[in-house]
Structure formats: structure tokens, C-alpha cells
């Protein structure tokens, strides 16, 4: 009997110890990012950026005294893994919200799971379908594909280009982009004369360039991918002596591709968030302060150039933090807090969410950029 008593006391003590951190207050947040695998250039910076936000907040005492516990799961861009992580985070870890996944494909797979589990999901996938049709618990931070396409076509109209070739990588991003490009082209009176898809692991596109170059009517090429082929196509085109303008998607917003393409990257025109040209923005720009802070914090901590992709993770975490400040540990309140965010400056643009718009960005969140002397600069026409 005495032994049992001791056991009970010990047990109670153990329970107290377990319970202590909970009483001190932690907000459990899940994250699913493709830290490894084919989309690691997205997931890596996204996970690091989110962690950076969390560390900074916890260092300053947390949100209203509550620390954030960020549980990062590496999906390797595999939708099946994303599904099981989403279930695990919602059902076992009982997180308040999930940020990520990195890719559109994964996001679409867990859209329903988050909605049914009534857990806010802030995706970092680019595709429009993630928030259209709107699911009340699902949000996303990257700009819509269609904005990027419209930006490019508007620029082409100014340059007097109306016959183009489209090439895209065989990833979800590439396919979605190719579809948007061909769909929106007639609205701007642009004809797509050739549309080709290449493998995401392509290492040389000389033959493709030779084929397209043989069609003398093509006035410009649009490449839509997030793979190293972005640099390869530029190189192969210039090596073949083909001088038509090369447009790229917002996937080109990574200085490493410019370094890889070297001299061939000069003059590439592409739409991107303003992070890449943060220094040259006027002081009146509402994003400028945020962009410079992110760039400085990220680059001094991780010793690598900040990218717009990392910015999607940074935005997702910051939006969630703003919602946690208002909603506390209540998923429903967090959700409505996100929906009511207005004029929230982030890396991708200034977010204004509404019950109908769960992306919160408009076409002006993109600027047209070009490469000059190995650096990104604002494109101001020829």
C-alpha cells in the first residue's frame, strides 16, 4: 500500500512536469516543406525563413508570452508524404495551423484535409487552383501564375511582339504555366507558334533551340520552369546566335541561375516580386523596409542570397504570427484573423485578404525585371 502511494506521488509529479510547458504556453505550428528533392530550392529557403521568424519571436518572449513551437516536416516534394504529414500534424500533433507545402501539387492534395480538419493552411504553392475555388481554411502567399503571364504579355505588346514560342519544364509549375500562357495569349492578340515541354532534368537544349530557330517568324521565346534548364536555354540560345528576346517566369528570380548562365543571362526579361531589386525601390514603397530587413536577416544568418521563394515561407509565417496575435490558440479565430488582414506588407507584395480572395495580392505585386551586368534590375523598356 505504501509503495502504491509513492507511485501515485511520483506519477503525479511526472504529470506536473509534463504539464508545465503547456501551462507556460506554446503555440504549436506545423510546416511541410520540400527541404530535399526536386523542389528543394523552394522548400530549403522557405523552411529556413520560417524558422528565422520563429526564432526571432521566441527570443523576444513569444506572442503575448506564448512561445511558438515550429514542427518542420520534409516532404521531398512527394504528395503522398505531404498527405501523411498533414494528417499527422492535424490529428496527432494537434497544431494550430500549417504553413506550406512548397509545391502546388502537394498543396492540392492536402487542401481538403486541412479544410476537413478545420486547420488553417497557408500554402507556398504558386498555382491559382489552391485558392480558386476558395476553401475557407486554405490560403496561399505566392503571386498567381496568371498575373505573371499577363505582365509578360503586356510587356510584349509594348515591344511590338505578337508571335512567340513557349517552352516549359515538365513539372507542375511548368505545365500550369504553359496552360496559362496558351490560354491568355489571345486576350493580348499574341500567337503561340510553338509550345514544347522538356524534361526537368534536361542538361542540354541545343536541339530544341535549333528547331525553334528554324522558324523565322518567332519573335520571342517564353520559358516557364523552375529548374536549371532556365539557365541552359539562355546559354543554348545565345550560343546558337539567336538574338530574339528571352522571357522567363518568376521562377527565374534566383541569382544562382543568373550566375550559372553567366553572360548568356544578360537581357533576360521576367516578372518577379520586388525583393530582388529592394535596394533600388523608392523609400515610399510600403514593402521596402520589410524587404531590406528580410534580405539582411536571411543573408547574415544563412550566408546565401535571399530568394523570392524563401520570401513565400517568410510571408506565410508572418501572416500566421499576425493571426496568432489576434486569434490566440483558436483555429477558427486564426482563420478569420487571416481573412481580415488588410494592407499587410510582405515579401511577395502587400496582402489584403477577403472571404473571396485568399491570396491577397494583385497584379502589381509583380514588377518586370531584367539582368544587367550579372544583377537583377528593374526593366524600363528599351
Amino acid at each position: 500500500m505504501k509503495r502504491l502511494g509513492i507511485k501515485i506521488i511520483l506519477g503525479a509529479a511526472a504529470l506536473c512536469m509534463l504539464a508545465l510547458p503547456v501551462q507556460a504556453g506554446t503555440y504549436k505550428v506545423g510546416a511541410i516543406f520540400a527541404v530535399t528533392g526536386g523542389a528543394s530550392f523552394l522548400g530549403g529557403p522557405e523552411a529556413r525563413s520560417a524558422q528565422m521568424v520563429v526564432d526571432a519571436i521566441n527570443k523576444n518572449g513569444g506572442i503575448n508570452g506564448n512561445k511558438i513551437e515550429l514542427i518542420i516536416k520534409d516532404s521531398g516534394a512527394n504528395p503522398e508524404k505531404a498527405i501523411s504529414f498533414a494528417k499527422q500534424l492535424i490529428e496527432e500533433e494537434k497544431v494550430l495551423a500549417i504553413i506550406g507545402p512548397s509545391t502546388s501539387g502537394e498543396s492540392m492534395k492536402i487542401k481538403k484535409i486541412a479544410q476537413q480538419g478545420k486547420t488553417p493552411l497557408i500554402s507556398c504553392g504558386a498555382a491559382e487552383v489552391i485558392v480558386n475555388p476558395v476553401a475557407s481554411y486554405v490560403f496561399k502567399t505566392p503571386q498567381k501564375d496568371s498575373f505573371a503571364v499577363k505582365k509578360i504579355y503586356a510587356e510584349m505588346k509594348k515591344m511590338g511582339i505578337d508571335k512567340i514560342a513557349v517552352v516549359a519544364g515538365n513539372t507542375g509549375f511548368g505545365k500550369a504555366g504553359k496552360a496559362q500562357l496558351t490560354k491568355i495569349a489571345p486576350e493580348y492578340g499574341i500567337k503561340v507558334l510553338a509550345a514544347e515541354t522538356y524534361d526537368k532534368k534536361a542538361t542540354d537544349l541545343t536541339a530544341l533551340v535549333a528547331k525553334l530557330m528554324a522558324n523565322k517568324e518567332i519573335q520571342a521565346v517564353v520559358n516557364w520552369s523552375i529548374v536549371p534548364a532556365q539557365a541552359i536555354i539562355a546559354k543554348n540560345m545565345r550560343q546558337a546566335g539567336w538574338k530574339v528576346p528571352l522571357f522567363q517566369s518568376h521562377g527565374f528570380g534566383n541569382i544562382k541561375y543568373v550566375q550559372a548562365a553567366g553572360a548568356a543571362a544578360e537581357g533576360i526579361i521576367f516578372p518577379a516580386g520586388r525583393l530582388l531589386v529592394a535596394d533600388s525601390l523608392p523609400d515610399s514603397n510600403p514593402q521596402k523596409k520589410m524587404l531590406l530587413k528580410y534580405k539582411h536577416d536571411y543573408e547574415s544568418r544563412y550566408k546565401e542570397a535571399a530568394s523570392t521563394f524563401g520570401g513565400h515561407g517568410y510571408d506565410a509565417m508572418n501572416i500566421l504570427v499576425a493571426a496568432l496575435e489576434k486569434g490566440g490558440a483558436d483555429r477558427g479565430k486564426i482563420r478569420s484573423a487571416i481573412e481580415n488582414l488588410h494592407g499587410f506588407p510582405g515579401i511577395g507584395g502587400v496582402f489584403t485578404f477577403s472571404p473571396k480572395d485568399h491570396n491577397g495580392l494583385d497584379i502589381n505585386s509583380f514588377a518586370m525585371l531584367t539582368v544587367k551586368d550579372g544583377k537583377f534590375v528593374l526593366y524600363d523598356g528599351k
Binding site: 530535399t36 514544347e196 515541354t197 541545343t206 530544341l208 535549333a210 546558337a240 553567366g262 553572360a263
Partner: protein, 296 residues
Amino acid sequence: MTQALFFQYLFAGISYGVIYAIVAIGFNIIYNTTGIINFAQGEFVMLGGMISISLLHYFPLPVAIALAVVITMLVGALIEIIFIRWLDSPSVLRMIIITIGLSILIREVALHIWGESIRSLPYFIGNELTTVSIGPVRISPQVFWVVGVCGIMVLGLSLFFKMTSVGREMRACSANRTAAILCGINTRNMVTLSFMLSAGIGALAGCVMSPITYTQYDCGTSLAIKGFTVAILGGLGNSMGAVAAGILLGIIEAYSVAFVPLAFQDAISITILLIILFVRPHGIFGSSAAARLKEF
């Protein structure tokens, strides 16, 4: 098809093909001494590229490449000594599973060391825009480097295997291991040597092709598949056959772009692999009688 376009495809095909051929030769060397396929061959190519890029911060280009080749050879030796040497007459299947496991291991280690970003060596001559004109065709001088290095390697290897006693000993191990042991050949050392040799060749290939194809932690896998196709196509163990088959596959891929959408390019090489495996498993240039005597 215009004449200019014809030659443009031809040269594009040759530059793809030579890269495949170098990877295939790496497969062949290990196959020739051990009778197994080393599926970590593509990772040697990646390591060569990655290490030389890292060393470039401290050394001039030729030294960085030479060091990268030596370091990769050491990695190759280390892998053989740790994972393969102590196995007592392992089955083919077991060896294949081990090498596949190794390729995953090397890739993950590379991911931790170099991260997920793409890197490349600078062009050996000129920059991204420099081209040489041959008639109507413009080619990057780097393609000549790849072709030249490949040519020298094939020549050197066939001389090595035919003329030197070490080379002959290595071939003896593959032909009949028991007989080789009876002749006093240390077969285990020969296997280690073959891993070093193929690692070195892979690494050198990784360096010369890096400016063209770029290097990323997982670039080895797709190269290994193409290289394997070429090795089979040319007849396993046959270096000259690998070069011919490599260029053949490269040219087929390049011309295919003219007739079918580019998306089918890889499907074509896989289809060829399957057809060859069904119809002529000993390859275009191999002999079926010799193939029957082999374990795999």
C-alpha cells in the same frame, strides 16, 4: 530539313552522346573486373563536378580538377573497402542493391555538404557566349573539351587494359575469378583499383561537362540511367562500343526533336533500352556467345 539544321542536330547529338559515353565507360570498368554494375557511377560524376567547384576557390582550374579527380578516386576506394571488399562471393543482386544504396547515401551526403543549389565550373575557354563556327553550325568550345577528354580516356583505357600487366590482371578477374586467384592475382586489390579508376573517370567527366550541364547534388541519377542505356546498347564491358552507342543515342535523341515533341526525348532512350534488353541483351556490338558465358 535544311542542311544547316541537319548539322546543328548532328553536333547537338554528338555533344549529348559523348557525355553519355563517358558515364557508360565508368560502368564498363567496374563491370570488367567485378562483373557487377555500379549504380553509384552517376554519383562519381556529380562528386567530381562538386569537389572541383569547391576547390576552385583555392586553386587554379587545372589543379582544382586534378585534386577533385584524386579525391573522388579516394572516395571510390573507400567505398569499395568499407562496403564491398569484405563480402564473401556476393551475388549479383546483392551487389546491385548495395550500389543503389550507396548512390542514395552519396547523394544525401552531397545534399548536406553543398545544399540544393546548382553550381558550375567556368568555361575552360571563353564564356557562355563564345562559339566556334563550323560551316553553318555554331558550337561551344567546351563541347570540344568533352569530346577530346572522352577520346583520350577511351584510348588510354583500352591501351591500359591491353598493354599493361595491371590492366590484364584486371581483365583476368572478370573472365574467371578463381583462375585469376590461382595465377596469384590479388583480386580484391583489383576490384578496389577498378572502383578508383571508374571514380576517377567519372569525376573527370563531371568536371569537363559541368560548364555545359551544371552540377547539382542529384544530377548523377539521370546521367546514370542514360549511361546504363548506352553501356547496354554498346555491349557491357566494351568501351569502344560505349562510345559508338553513346553517340548513336545522342544523335537519335537530337533528331527526334525534329519529328516528335521534345517531351518524348527521354521516352525514346528508355524505349531503346527496353528493346535492346529484349532483342539483343548483349548489345549492338557485343557477341551473344561471350554474353552467355557471363554471370550477368
